[in-house]
């Protein structure tokens, strides 16, 4: 028996530590630990609710915008503000843009090196690589000269040290791609790195910058006027149109073909990494307002036990549905270690009881993470692109069903293949393809509204705090690229009285709950073979398939400051 520690887990956002128990070459137990905390929820208390989007946006710069959106939705929900349809379209365009950018960057820059051996790409025949690439994509850049120049680049780079590629698990027998596919993927890794800076210019147009564009309670901060140089006008819209068509080309001629090509060599990964059998999605892309979830592109709901014949409703306001536990987390509750608490009513005291650093292992510590453990009706849930697709599939969304069936057909694998590491990575590609379709749709609708001059972007009726009730509470739900994200806010006398975030990686990466139930990361590792514990590429593959975001997942919550005196900060 061996305990394998991977820390830092790289090519993710934030600080994650995985400890896995390997017996006879197979993982039999696993522990997922978030090892950084900043205390943002505590910092939010007492501030202007209209500022919360900016503070919470800084939870994460990788999935920038998602917390800003959850925050403005929570405040609008609390104060009964409906945003104008044009503002909703712009928010949808920003979100779909993020889906596409984030998933492409995840595939090439965070996940690909688990499957693609960059050193092996040097052995490829560029001519054969071009023939192969042309057989599955019509992208006009895929020529022998292109692959040959990329290979030369990598050769000379390798000769002067490998920089960010040094000390990878190169040559590990788990890497199965032929040299030509490796070369194609490496070439597109470099192209994707160049392209990702383009699509986010859409955020800069509507929000002024990326990362961290601007949001606004009641709408969006930009104004539209086709007759003004300083507003969103034809020039700005032309730029967005060009960026969208460029993104469409990249997703459909590069990302999706590469994903399928790589996946076809790793079908054995449809057997491993499945983990939990429950899937949660809050739904996303409102088309008739945030208050009408039945109009969302992605539906809201829960699938239990992989039963795709039934979808359970989700109510974020019900104190019995979503609760957070701290049985294995470095916090304490007044009501004891084993209770779960709904975000609106919660309490938390940070209480680090782990080993004194420097340490070698967390083994033997009942509490081992700064992440809390959220549960839906006591059930651990997987969230993310796979969960979204499964909830949409089970809800009878025909566009999703067709896309999923078509992809499974192309890979010639059964539906069960979805419940795996491979399925999760493939689902992310389909999620991007759908976002691309919707991005074009939202933009066309926006152009329609510009044409008819229905361009109001801000509802200021409840902008001034004097128009607010003395007390209000709201919840902002978002399907972020990484999964279900929600902010719960309580407002009192114009100020934030209470603020709680439950984020995708808290669902997926949290430690065990009071009943000892594992969350997604831990559950998905069990049963996975590890060929060489010195080079545990198998652990990295499955963990990366979730696209972890630890800065999002770790937070400190303190309602009304009532437990301040017990917090051991000094």
């Amino acid at each position: 028996m061996a305990r394998v520690v991977v820390d830092p887990v790289t090519r993710i956002e934030g600080h994650l530590r995985i400890e896995a128990v390997v017996e006879n070459g197979v993982i039999t137990d696993a522990f997922s630990a978030g090892t950084m905390i900043r205390g943002l929820e505590k910092i939010l208390i007492g501030r202007d609710p209209r500022d919360a989007w900016a503070i919470t946006e800084r939870v994460c710069g990788v999935c920038t915008t998602v917390h800003a959106l959850a925050s403005v939705r929570s405040v609008e929900d609390a104060l009964g503000i409906a945003v104008p349809p044009t503002a909703e379209l712009i928010r949808n365009i920003m979100m779909a843009t993020l889906y596409v950018q984030d998933h492409v960057v995840h595939f090439y820059h965070l996940h690909a090196l688990d499957w693609v051996d960059i050193v092996n790409a040097l052995k490829a025949d560029p001519k054969k690589a071009a023939e192969l690439a042309q057989s599955f994509s019509k992208w006009d850049k895929n020529t022998p000269a292109y692959f040959s120049s990329v290979q030369d680049k990598i050769k000379s780079f390798a000769a002067s040290g490998l920089g960010i590629f040094a000390n990878g698990y190169w040559g590990h027998p788990a890497y199965k791609l032929p040299p030509e596919v490796n070369l194609i993927a490496v070439a597109h890794y470099l192209d994707a790195l160049e392209w990702q800076k383009e699509i986010v210019k859409i955020h800069a147009v509507f929000g002024g910058k990326n990362p961290h564009p601007n949001y606004l309670v009641g709408g969006v901060p930009c104004s539209i006027d086709a007759d003004e140089v300083a507003a969103i006008n034809s020039e700005r819209l032309n730029l967005v149109a060009r960026l969208i068509s460029q993104a469409d080309e990249f997703v459909n001629q590069v990302y999706i073909p590469d994903l399928l090509a790589v996946a076809s060599f790793y079908k054995d990964w449809a057997k491993w990494g499945g983990g939990l059998k429950n899937y949660l999605s809050y739904g996303e892309y409102p088309t008739k307002g945030y208050g009408q979830p039945e109009s969302f592109k992605y539906p809201r709901g829960v699938v239990l036990n992989r039963d795709l014949s039934h979808v359970y409703p989700v109510n974020p306001r019900d104190s019995q549905e979503i609760k957070e536990y701290i049985a294995s987390s470095w916090y304490s509750y007044d009501g004891g270690n084993d209770v779960g608490i709904h975000p609106w009513a919660g309490e938390t005291k940070i209480n680090y009881t782990g080993p004194k650093p420097p340490f070698e292992t967390l083994e033997g510590f009942a509490k081992y993470s700064f992440l809390k453990t959220p549960r839906w009706k006591e059930n651990p849930m997987e969230v993310g692109p796979l969960a979204r697709l499964l909830v949409a599939y089970a809800s009878g969304h025909t566009d999703v069903q067709e896309l999923v069936k078509d992809t499974l057909g192309k890979l010639s694998v059964p539906v069960d293949a979805l419940f795996s590491t491979l399925g999760r990575t493939a689902a992310r590609g389909l999620d991007a393809a759908l976002a691309m379709i919707w991005l074009k749709e939202f933009f066309a609708e926006l152009m329609g509204r510009v044409k008819t001059r229905e361009t109001s972007t801000f509802n200021g009726e409840r902008w001034e705090p004097k128009s607010w009730p003395a007390e209000a509470e709201g919840v902002g739900l978002v399907e972020a690229p990484r999964g279900s994200l929600a902010h719960w806010i309580k407002i009192k006398d114009g100020k934030i009285d209470n603020y709680q975030l439950v984020v995708p990686t808290t669902w997926n990466g949290s430690p065990r709950d009071a009943k000892g139930q594992r969350s997604s990361f831990e559950a998905s590792l069990i049963g996975t073979p590890v060929a060489n514990i010195e080079m545990p590429v198998e652990i990295i593959r499955t963990i990366h398939s979730f696209d972890p975001c630890l800065a999002c997942a770790v937070h400190l919550y303190d309602p009304q400051g009532k437990h301040l005196h017990q917090v051991s900060f000094e």
Binding site: V5, T10, R38, R50, S160, N167, N210
Partner: protein, 362 residues
């Protein structure tokens, strides 16, 4: 190992002409101008690709994300040709002890020569348990990495001044890098900093082997020497007393000044309105939202963001500027002059405070 940039370009079949063009582009990117091309050429002929490590502490990775948005040079060229980025948790292939090996090897093999880029603040409360990597505290890692570094760059507001986690009540004791390491730190604040500014700072260091000229807060003067307000294209509206009164009102569509919507441009030193964001696409004010002052120390506690500056304690004099909107033409000149004086006084007192604090600590 150890090829000069010119040698490595020769190896790849580039001509001397290509090389000189590359040097000219690099000089421009570093804000050096054509006169410095000769210097750049000789630097690139002599220098090895410098070893760089990028540390991640209490942060949100927006600085890394911003860095890869760079347009000149694009990040692929920087990673492959300009520097040898041997450690960055966001992009590196290696994980776990192989990642630590990349870091340790770089420190060992490049003593006194490598550059440390730091993203994130360092929590110092309770023995540093609020940020641990590989079982070690962020603070202990920082000290080890900085000890033999040729230069330390603090990326973004987290590393430069603490940023969001250091906002009141700073629950984890988040501390900026310059207060922890015993050598000069180049502060590149912003949440995040502008991509092309980050790349220019790197190029300045690596191409010339020189620290760019810094102001008294350790910021490169070339990018943090002017207020957003003074270089803003909406500034004439301020001077003329033309203000946005509500988001998306008629004045907003005309691009009037966002001062009354809480814009922090008048007290924020950054290059946003000159360099702009995302290859010059826009910047916050251009998109219709005020500057939130994200490159200034303590900006999170300088709110609420939508309350305009004049009502702040110590800023009463700016109420003159505020009345400009209603009494057009009368107070304009006095208002502008007064507000320029006030921000300069304020900046001088900020600098004095920092010095006093530094003296206390030393």
């Amino acid at each position: 190992m150890g090829l000069s940039i010119w040698q490595s370009m020769q190896q790849k079949g580039y001509s001397r002409r290509d090389f000189l063009q590359f040097c000219a582009a690099a000089a421009t990117a570093a804000g050096l101008g054509q006169s410095a091309v000769g210097q750049v050429v000789s630097a690139f002929e002599k220098k090895e690709k410098p070893a760089v490590v990028w540390m991640h502490f209490q942060e949100c990775t927006c600085c890394s994300e911003s860095f890869i948005r760079s347009s000149h040079p694009i990040v692929v060229d920087a990673l492959l040709d300009v520097l040898s980025l041997n450690y960055t948790e966001t992009l590196m292939a290696a994980s776990g002890f192989q990642a630590e090996k990349s870091l340790n090897d770089t420190i060992k093999n490049n003593k006194g020569k490598y550059i440390v880029l730091v993203e994130g603040a360092v929590p110092t409360k309770d023995g540093g348990v609020y940020c641990m990597i590989g079982g070690k505290t962020a603070e202990s890692i920082l000290q080890t990495v900085a000890a033999d570094a040729a230069a330390v760059v603090a990326w973004g507001s987290c590393a430069s001044n603490g940023c969001v986690q250091a906002a009141k009540p700073n629950p984890t004791g988040a501390t900026p890098i310059h207060k922890l390491v015993d050598k000069p730190v180049i502060n590149v604040p912003g949440c995040p900093p502008i991509a092309d500014v980050m790349m220019a700072v790197v190029t300045h260091l690596l191409v010339l082997g020189q620290v760019p000229a810094l102001d008294s807060l350790g910021r490169p003067k070339e990018f943090y020497g002017r207020r957003v307000h003074d270089t803003c294209y909406r500034r004439p509206n301020y001077d003329a007393g033309l203000f946005v009164e509500s988001f998306d009102d008629e004045n907003a569509r005309k691009g009037y000044c966002l001062y009354k919507m809480g814009c922090r441009g008048p007290v924020t030193y950054n290059a946003c309105s000159v360099v702009k964001w995302n290859e010059g696409t826009s910047y916050p004010i251009q998109s219709g939202h005020g500057c939130i002052g994200c490159s200034e120390e303590g900006f999170w506690d300088n709110g609420p963001f939508y309350q305009h500056l004049a009502s702040f304690p110590g800023f009463g004099i700016e109420s003159t500027a505020d009345t400009v909107g209603t009494v057009v033409g009368i107070a304009t000149v006095a208002g502008v002059a007064a507000h320029a004086v006030v921000t300069n006084i304020r900046k001088r007192s900020v600098i004095a405070e920092v010095h006093a604090e530094d003296q206390k600590e030393s």
